[in-house]
Amino acid sequence: MKYRSNLGWTAIAVVSAILLAALWAAPLLWAVSTALRPELETVSADFHWLPQTWTLDAFAKTLAAGNLLRWLLNSALVSLAVTVVTMAVSLMAAYAFSQLRFRGRGLIFALAMLAFLVPFEALLVPLFRTMNQLGMINRYAGIVLPQVVSPVVIYVFKGFFDEIPADFREAAVMDGAGPLRVLWSVYLPLSGNIVWAMAIVTFIAAWNNFLWPFIIVTSNDMMTVPLGLTQTYDAFGVRYAQLMAAALLGAAPVAAAYIVFQKKVTQGFLAASGLKG
């Protein structure tokens, strides 16, 4: 009887999982379906799940007419820069908070963590004023710099470093390594998966970030993909097929990056959670 009861719960769990997966996938599939229709069909009163006429027109027009390749390049540059600088800053900060002993360490760490409590929206005006004064409107540095301080990444790295036995650091110090060398040659290799996981998450967040680029960028040539998508309309209104094609093209590199590094991301989060993969 117990076996039958377990079987029932398993069936409910499987059906729920399938429904949730369908719910998650529906918008994505709808976007693909829309992008593969002629523009007229997207505003047709007749509803069809699949295109009545299959075409790649929307993709062709998006690539030919818009500035998508430029936006893709901007997104790639900005996201890579944000990821690299965030990783560098966070790793060094986490190492200092975790392994170095200096006056005010606890206070500074508490202040860094307090940044959790401040929503980014609250910083928009002062950040914009600062960037404006520094002449960084419509500059890559202006888009990148406000995104590189991430308390959550520092917190995760610090937690990870705290778990690494101090003997490794001390052995490296005895071997003649300074703090940066210890971080680079010992702590970084020992934290490989969690660094990859944080890097991918940071990259995706930077790629998808809309708000800050929307504030700091006014030039079409400096737009990132999410910002550029708002430009896919003309005098006749929004071009839905082109909009979905642009969104899919814009998301493709991130999806590809995630698929390539999926295993490392999973292993990283498992390592951070203390579970064995």
């Binding site: 001390e170 110090v173 005895m174 003649g176 390594a177 040659s185 290799p189 020992l190």
Partner: protein
């Protein structure tokens, strides 16, 4: 190689003074063992010599050079950690050569020095393996190899054998002694294992509560402990302590009254103590003479446990008026008394120790049994 000189060394964590003024000289090429119970400060002192802990007060000289503020890597010291601390992502060769790589030593020389150290330790076949593919004993050798390639003036060992099983520990002890003879380097070795201390050390430093209790050769410490702590710490089973009062003294012999009213003579100069003073009589288990209770001399006791260890038999006995159990070592060939039987424990005057109320040993009139070859 270098000598190590400590003068007035203190370590303070906030208001807590954990190392309370250490004066010590380690001679060039000497093998010195720091021994003491957990928390006595021996590892902290070793880490201060290494440069991993700041020195709160006092001076540290390595050779003629004051080193209080010298970076660890520049002290000419190599350390073998209790956990070995081998970098898991590097091969054995990379682990051993890491310090040389940081020092920008040419690759060919690194390979040559790593190879030579590996040959000394017979680990050449392990050079391309990662630490996780090594046994405990192999890791321990690699950790020593990592120290050797740096050609340090002073080796520091922080309980390096504590993670090995008993058989491997005994074997590695012999190898370490051989390594010291071969390299001739100054070595400071921390352990809480008195067997390691007695077998490895040319000089033993006994620590307790952040202070040095006594410094001497293994035999000096065993035969002439300065106080109750050292007497009780060295030796297994530990020395038996029996409360006593001074009944009289004459020359280099003191007579003490024991809890059962019997009187024992001890070859100790108790001249500065008054008759009737509370003292402690110390007798090592191998010097307690076990006799059947036929009403003769000796301390009356009841056997509570008999342990057959193969080479010896340990008899544990309870004496009226004495806290704890006394232990006597008997020849395994003899007949051991039964549990519950009454026995008498004889004390040989020349083999007993006498400690005053503060725990300090009275000077003994007996000579050391033998000299330890250095």
């Amino acid at each position: 190689m270098a000598s190590v000189r400590l003068r007035g060394i203190q370590k303070r964590y906030g208001d807590n003074l954990v190392i309370k003024g250490i004066d010590l000289d380690v001679e060039d090429g000497q093998f010195v063992v720091f021994v003491g119970p957990s928390g006595c400060g021996k590892s902290t002192l070793l880490r201060m010599i290494a440069g991993l802990e700041d020195i709160s007060a006092g001076t540290l000289h390595l050779g003629d050079k004051p080193c209080n503020d010298v970076a660890p890597a520049e002290r000419g010291i190599a350390m073998v950690f209790q956990s070995y601390a081998l970098y898991p992502h590097m091969t054995v060769a990379e682990n051993m050569g890491f310090a040389l790589k940081l020092a920008k030593v040419p690759k060919a020389e690194i390979a040559e020095r790593v190879g030579r150290a590996a040959a000394i330790l017979q680990i050449e076949h392990l050079l391309e393996r990662k630490p996780k593919a090594l046994s405990g004993g192999q890791r321990q050798r690699v950790a020593i190899g990592r120290a050797i390639v740096r050609k340090p003036e002073v080796f520091l060992f922080d309980e390096p054998l504590s993670n090995l099983d008993a058989a491997l520990r005994a074997q590695t002890r012999v190898e370490l002694a051989g390594l010291h003879r071969e390299l001739g380097s100054t070595m400071i070795y921390v352990t809480h294992d008195q067997v390691e201390a007695m077998t490895l050390g040319q000089k033993i430093v006994v620590f307790n509560g952040g202070r040095i209790e006594q410094v001497g050769t293994p035999l000096e410490l065993y035969e002439r402990p300065a106080n109750l702590f050292v007497a009780g710490f060295l030796g297994s089973p530990r020395m038996n302590f029996i409360p006593a009062t001074l009944a009289g003294e004459e020359g280099a012999t003191a007579a003490v009254r024991l809890p059962d009213g019997s009187v024992a003579e001890v070859a100790a100069d108790a001249g500065h103590a008054r008759v009737g003073a509370a003292l402690t009589l110390g007798v090592r288990p191998e010097h307690l003479q076990l006799q059947a209770d036929a009403g003769g001399s000796g301390i009356a006791a009841t056997v509570v446990l008999v342990e057959y260890l193969g080479d010896v038999t340990l008899v544990h006995a309870k004496v009226e008026g004495v806290e704890g159990i006394l232990a006597a070592k008997c020849n395994a060939g003899g007949t051991a008394p039964a549990v519950g039987s009454r026995v008498r424990l004889g004390v040989e005057p020349g083999r007993a120790y006498l400690f005053d109320e503060t725990g300090k040993a009275f000077a003994s009139s007996r000579a050391l049994a033998a000299a330890i070859p250095q």
